[in-house]
Symmetry: C2
Subunit: 504 residues, 2 copies
């Protein structure tokens, strides 16, 4: 009965965290303005309960008894894996003292408010003291978790198990070397950018992006699409996986690609097997978050794959532009599939990460990662961030940052105490190309893409990525699915091929 | 620190129960079809956690220490009241063994499925075994809770503290005696019923019912209105109180009055004082339900007051019919305010409780209460229900029940293990008239109603009902607000006056 006890405690934690996900979704999609304060307390209470159970004696005892019960089974047994994976993650969670967790949560509230004001006023100095305290606390958390080589490793690994700053630096170096020349080349590409900011009624944008999401394989019977300020995906087990979008009448790609991005995340969660529901393999014990994806980077690989590898491909628009034109006959009467594809691939260095194109996006991530790593060792000081930011953006993208609002103050992450999550965006980009290349080795996938039938690709992802939930590490998942660990080659090849097509 | 510990444990329970309310709301309003199974488990886990905390040693110790800490304070101190009220409710909750709670929850699932099938097939015999088991279990629960006089008392009191079958019988007798002659009289009233089932576009019904809800005083900044199959109200503290409606194009009053009914419930919850948020006075520990209203009957008094005492009054339509006609100019071009008011007050005995008018509604409740009381003592047997039902409906409403689907199988309550809640509908009707009569003694209220300004009435309800949350018993609340305990006089007077107006 001890493995059963273990399973049932884990299921409880997962249920609580799914409820937290719903409280979060609702607060961003449905909640009336008055509800904010009470909602914050409700979420804090549930997270606290989840933590209490996860780090409590009951689960610890169940883990030990399950180990004893399973002492005779074969080493690869999934139950053993479940127990050891939970023990490991709970170990990390337990090493962060409750007092530190509480202090971080309190600081987050005031720090986010300070950041919001500072950004509006373009006043970094007003935010700096909060940011210093946040970074001190993150350093404390890194020490509490522990690391071999670099304090940043401890934090990065909470989002991307197994990743280190040393490996990231290697990957970033390869990307810089390959992307800088591509970026120089693509500037000459011929683009009618103005076709994207005509007036596209929002309800028809929503309809078209839903139609394509269904074509990709997102299941609306186990999901729904709503409007929010910042698009996101969230799940309450595989059977209820919701996505949101944001549509602006005069910026067509904003709405479309965000929905396909979130649908990519959503298909991952919808593809978690039923038997993993409420299990360790659908629970992130370190971040106390109900999720079926193996890591933040792996998750991002799925969203980027559908958004960029498919949604921004030439073949996709050759096949689907006719439907878009049917949706917007007046707006697109003078536009060809080729024009449209070129326009949604326009590359131009800019200040804002979330508006960056494929060729410049990763530079924004490198910059942030380097700053985070430097802050964690103390080699970089908070006070110097504006100048360091300016310096590096100039080197990477050749731009002069006119204000901190367009620079170091643009992202919410640091004010929220998130250090170590930025690299997962680039990791996701890299992985997306690796998975995509491996999938295309199957004839059915390739023929499907050629014909506009996305089911073979989705099925390949189901079979090689989704179905394993969190039961494989990101590295193992990549190795098994693609034959190699994280490697920039496929991603660089995809971007080089894109530039080649664009400059034809 | 012990009263503080008590408060914080209670707040935790309230937070969990608010999360349960959101899980419930979402499952009825937003959840995609796939989500059902997982949602049921999430709700069960959270209710289990709330029960564990409520009946756990930690809260018990905090209660005892709080008693010690408060031993010197004045007897009426609100903190003492909070502690003793919690202790009392938790006492009731603790007397129901966890095994019985679990068995009841399991039975509910299969019983509801059986009821649903039996109703569709008009096959009471197929449902009877489940109903027998449900009633056995309710008898067990009644014994576990304990009672002085009648087993039904134990169950009724979980919904309406202090109420007994003996008192109910007295009230029912008074109502029967007064209403039967009124019902005979009103049949002669002159009504153009067909004006209500013209084609009324649903979006305009929603807009008009929202407009009037706002006029009544329901605050949409702390609430929202959505569509569901069965309208309801639910709250996540006073700052987020949601209502739902159901609109059918060819049945105008269905949508309007349901929304005003739910808005009445909603205003009660929005009127709970901020300092009661997350406290004993906003938590039903017996039913493990986050709610600020004093009892089910008290809650129903607020919904019925706005729905019937206001929404079905002649003066209301004299004042507001012009806006309705502006909303539906074509449909209502040949209809007067008087026609409309008469139509929405048409009284006619029918088989279905939820479609019953004001004059016949309580007979449906009496019938159910008598059956429930008889089942609890064993004087009535499940097998005899169809015939007993037929017999009593004939006596009360003069109708011959053509099928059990229109008779004993019509309500979901018994299959869900709810025994003792039906009386609260009639208690609510009675109370609504008592509160209304007391409020109208204030000149400002009366002048407001005359002028279509509902703020004075709402303010009176805020001051005399809502602001006390669950800190007064229903009886105390009535005594303080109206000068008398539960009494049928005002309700009978309201109905008699309505009949008089209708037969003018
Ligand atoms: Zn993403
Ligand atoms: Zn009601």
């Amino acid at each position: 009965m001890s493995y059963a006890a273990f399973k049932s405690e884990v299921a409880k934690v997962n249920d609580i965290l799914c409820a937290v996900n719903l409280l979060t979704w609702d607060s961003r999609v449905m909640m009336p303005p008055g509800g904010v304060d009470a909602r914050g307390k409700q979420i804090a209470t549930l997270i606290g309960l989840a933590r209490d159970i996860a780090t409590g004696d009951g689960l610890q005892r169940a883990i030990e008894e399950a180990r004893a019960e399973l002492s005779g089974v074969a080493p690869g047994d999934i139950r053993l894996l479940a127990v050891e994976q939970a023990a490991d993650a709970i170990g990390t969670l337990s090493r962060i003292p409750a007092s530190l967790v509480g202090a971080a949560a309190e600081l987050k509230t005031v720090s986010q408010a300070a950041w919001s004001k500072a950004r509006a006023a373009n006043d970094f100095a007003a935010f700096a003291p909060m940011l210093e305290r946040t970074m001190d606390m993150q350093r404390e958390i890194a020490s509490a978790i522990g690391y071999d080589d670099h304090p940043y490793d401890a934090l990065v690994a909470t989002y991307e198990p197994g990743m280190t700053w040393n490996r990231l630096r290697g990957l970033y170096g390869e990307l810089r070397e390959a992307l800088l020349p591509l970026l120089a080349e693509v500037k000459e590409a011929n683009v009618r950018a103005e076709i994207l900011d005509r007036a596209y009624p929002v309800d028809r944008q929503r309809a078209f992006s839903s139609l394509i999401s269904s074509r990709f394989g997102y299941d609306f019977n186990r999901g729904r699409l709503d409007d929010t300020v910042h698009p996101f995906e969230i799940s309450f087990t595989r059977s209820d996986v919701r996505i949101t979008g944001r549509f602006r009448e005069t910026w067509l790609p904003g709405g479309l690609f965000a929905v396909w991005h979130e649908a990519g995340h959503g298909m991952y969660e919808q593809g978690i097997p039923e038997e993993f529901s409420r299990s360790v393999f659908a629970t992130d014990f370190v971040n106390l978050y109900a999720v079926g994806g193996a890591s933040f980077g792996t998750h991002e690989s799925q969203s980027r794959l559908w958004e960029n590898r498919i949604g921004r491909s030439r073949r996709f628009w050759e096949l689907n532009f006719a439907d878009l034109r049917k949706t917007f006959p007046d707006q697109l009467s003078d536009v060809s599939a080729e024009d449209f594809w070129r326009a949604v691939n326009a590359a131009r260095p800019g200040f804002i990460r979330v508006e960056a194109d494929e060729l410049t996006y990763d530079f924004h991530i490198m910059l942030r990662s380097e700053i985070e790593a430097g802050l964690m060792t103390g080699e970089i000081r908070v006070a110097d961030l504006p100048s360091i930011w300016r310096e590096r953006i100039k080197v990477y993208l050749g731009l002069d940052v006119p204000s901190d609002t367009l620079g170091v103050l643009q992202d919410v992450h640091w004010s929220a105490g998130m250090v170590g999550s930025f690299p997962t965006y680039t990791i996701g980009n890299i992985m997306s190309s690796q998975f995509f290349a491996a999938a295309r080795k199957e004839t059915a996938v390739e023929l499907g893409l050629e014909a506009g039938d996305y089911l073979p690709l989705k099925t390949w992802l189901n079979d090689n990525v989704h179905q394993f939930g969190r039961s494989k590490s990101p590295s193992q998942l990549l190795m098994d699915a693609t034959g190699s660990d994280l490697s920039t080659a496929a991603y660089i090849a995809d971007l080089a091929h894109k530039v080649e097509e664009l400059t034809e």
